[in-house]
Subunit: 382 residues, 2 copies
């Protein structure tokens, strides 16, 4: 029948939202975040500035920034029910992303949860503020340590590093993490952001929407798992071995993790930002060996990929330098995806506000492929 529209697998190429939050141009290698090229914003703004920018479409002035920082700092501590649940989850060795989803879901206990728009702002502050507390507390509980209570006098990124390690980080380390969080704060209508918009489109509440987004980000196809890229660098060990190692890997038909991206056909603009941030951070820490080895592996890999897969133009993606940067910050690979969520929740919440501002419930069609006239037969006749 000609009036039935065609099935669009994965909704590829369908425009499901208008947004002022970010623009991804994979052909040009350009990522715009709320009007700023990512290279212009990520290394300069604090995470709180980026959050304000996404929520309000402008950078904050001094007073606005102070207020937002205070609001966030005041919401960091977890209620006892959340800590108790994380303790049970740690005893059950639940994955970090599941623990984040569970912990975030419990935040309804201190929220009215009615879904009204004034609640949406308060819930968004609570979610953004507590993501780092949940992730850090859970990581410590899993390791058999007690959680480190958040400090109100530290900024968002610095406080996360403090809660993970119990040690106040250097300014360069906090800056390195902020750059990362800014870089991943929004990225078009990926599956997790889309999930948040679909849920809030029913006029459900902010916590429900963000909990759904965490569930989507957990999936390996979402692409939030930068661990394996760095494992390869460690395997290689020294620059002189890079070429032989990579050639052998390609000859075996194996994929090089950290290269090539579904969207970006040139170098991922985030790779540049993160590599510069990693360079500054490793420099401040006084040991450039891993940074230089990683650069060398990148150069060799890109050259060999051009030779081995001509015409594909496989370039470094965001995972490669994410892994280097987060490793330098002392993060274990288990918290790489949760740390991605700590940055991306800025975009998720902003997309929810945007959806609520001009809402239409998402309800696409499905195409029925079954029969239509089955008859019920009694159990004894089956």
């Amino acid at each position: 029948m000609s009036d039935i529209p065609a099935f669009v697998p994965g909704l590829e190429g369908i425009v499901a939202a208008r947004t002022r939050l970010s623009s991804v141009d994979g052909q040009a290698g350009q990522l715009i975040i709320a009007g700023f090229p990512v290279e212009e914003l990520a290394g300069k703004a604090s995470f709180e500035e980026t959050l304000y920018l996404l929520w309000h479409d402008a950078l904050p002035n001094a007073e606005q920034l102070r207020n937002l920082k205070q609001e966030l700092a005041a919401e960091r501590a977890l209620p006892p029910a959340t800590i108790a649940l994380l303790r049970e989850a740690a005893a059950g060795k639940v994955a970090d992303m599941d623990a984040l989803r569970m912990g975030a879901s419990t935040l309804s206990i201190s929220s009215s949860g009615a879904g009204a728009s004034d609640d949406a702002h308060r819930d968004a502050v609570t979610l953004v503020a507590r993501f780092p507390t949940i992730v850090a507390a859970y990581r410590r509980l899993l390791a058999g340590d007690e959680p480190v209570a958040p400090r109100r006098d530290l900024d968002h990124a610095a406080n996360y590093l403090y809660m993970l390690s119990g040690v106040e980080p250097s300014a360069e380390r906090a800056r390195g993490l902020e750059t990362y969080l800014n870089t991943v704060s929004d990225h078009g209508l990926n599956a997790s952001t889309f999930t948040a918009r679909v849920i809030i489109s029913t006029q459900s509440d902010m916590i429900s929407a963000i909990v759904g987004a965490i569930g989507a980000l957990k999936g390996p196809l979402h692409g939030g798992a930068p661990g394996p890229a760095l494992d390869m660098v460690f395997d290689i060990g020294e620059a002189s071995k890079a070429e032989a190692y990579l050639r052998a890997k390609l000859a075996r038909g194996e994929r090089l993790m950290g290269f090539g991206h579904r969207v970006y056909k040139v170098r991922d603009p985030r790779a540049e930002v993160l590599s510069a941030a990693a360079e500054r951070m490793y420099q401040a820490d006084g040991d450039m060996r891993l940074y230089e080895l990683t650069r060398e592996v990148e150069r060799t890999a890109v050259a060999l990929l051009a030779e081995h897969k001509p015409g594909r133009n496989l370039q470094t993606n965001v995972e490669f330098y994410t892994a280097l940067l987060l490793h330098g910050l002392g993060l274990s690979t288990d918290v790489f995806t949760p740390t991605f969520a700590i940055g991306r929740v800025a975009g998720w919440t902003a997309h929810c506000f945007e959806q609520l501002d001009n809402n239409r419930i998402f309800r696409p069609q499905s195409l029925y492929t079954g029969t239509k006239d089955r008859r019920y037969t009694p159990l004894e006749e089956r």
Copy 2:
């Protein structure tokens, strides 16, 4: 630019999935569930049969049904961590749907959560089995009572009623609830089912997908709130007052809850099934007054709507008789939407299996409406 596709608000008219699970024909007033017209299936099958049908595309034979019932019964009890969290939620007077979302999220504690397909089946059994336990336990905790432990010797629907009240229900009451659960078990690609499919499309796990779907079902635009329809019947009180009451309401420009549906342009086929189930149940209980008043209100409302809004053909929707049936079962309006979820989780999990069988990650496009060349200005210049 002509190569940018147009924005499709709410994805209306876009086919986002192929499914053998259900077909909704609003013009004809037809709902097919896994090959069965809803009128053929809902009043005859047990809930476990419908669940098996959705999961396996065939009604079970005696052995298959026995196995599924045993699997479900064995999974009903809640782990202590889930009960403890529900207790905290009750102290905070969290809404029933938020409590269901939190409770369902904790089920990862006893799951590996890795997202492998063998886990998906086990997680689906756990979710379906424990939804009633969570809802009933939470309702009792909110009322200051202790939860009633599930019984393995009762079927799914009967055990839910037992856990809510502490009293084993009559066969007619269990049958009435089963008919309702079957009736709402699946309904095309609504927002919550779509949410579940988007989350699982990242190869995330079943629990994450269903937790997201609960969040979407909570939203008032989803249409899972049948309470107000019956409130109107109670307000009217006796049949002789129906016409004057409804005329006054329409004259004030108020909407009649329980009539009209976004999809169904004739009588919702589910209304017929539910009205028959309600009739049987009220008859068995020996008091037909509320049933007859409700029928009379329906007749009057449909006639007045035809007069007042000619050409709209506003007919009774599923909410009207859902409210009558669930009220007759002793359920308070607070658990109407959670009880809808207890039925719909059959469809949600089946859609997740179907998505995993032939998966493509959902990643639609967004259209960027912002600027592209903002420059970062230092804080003191803002």
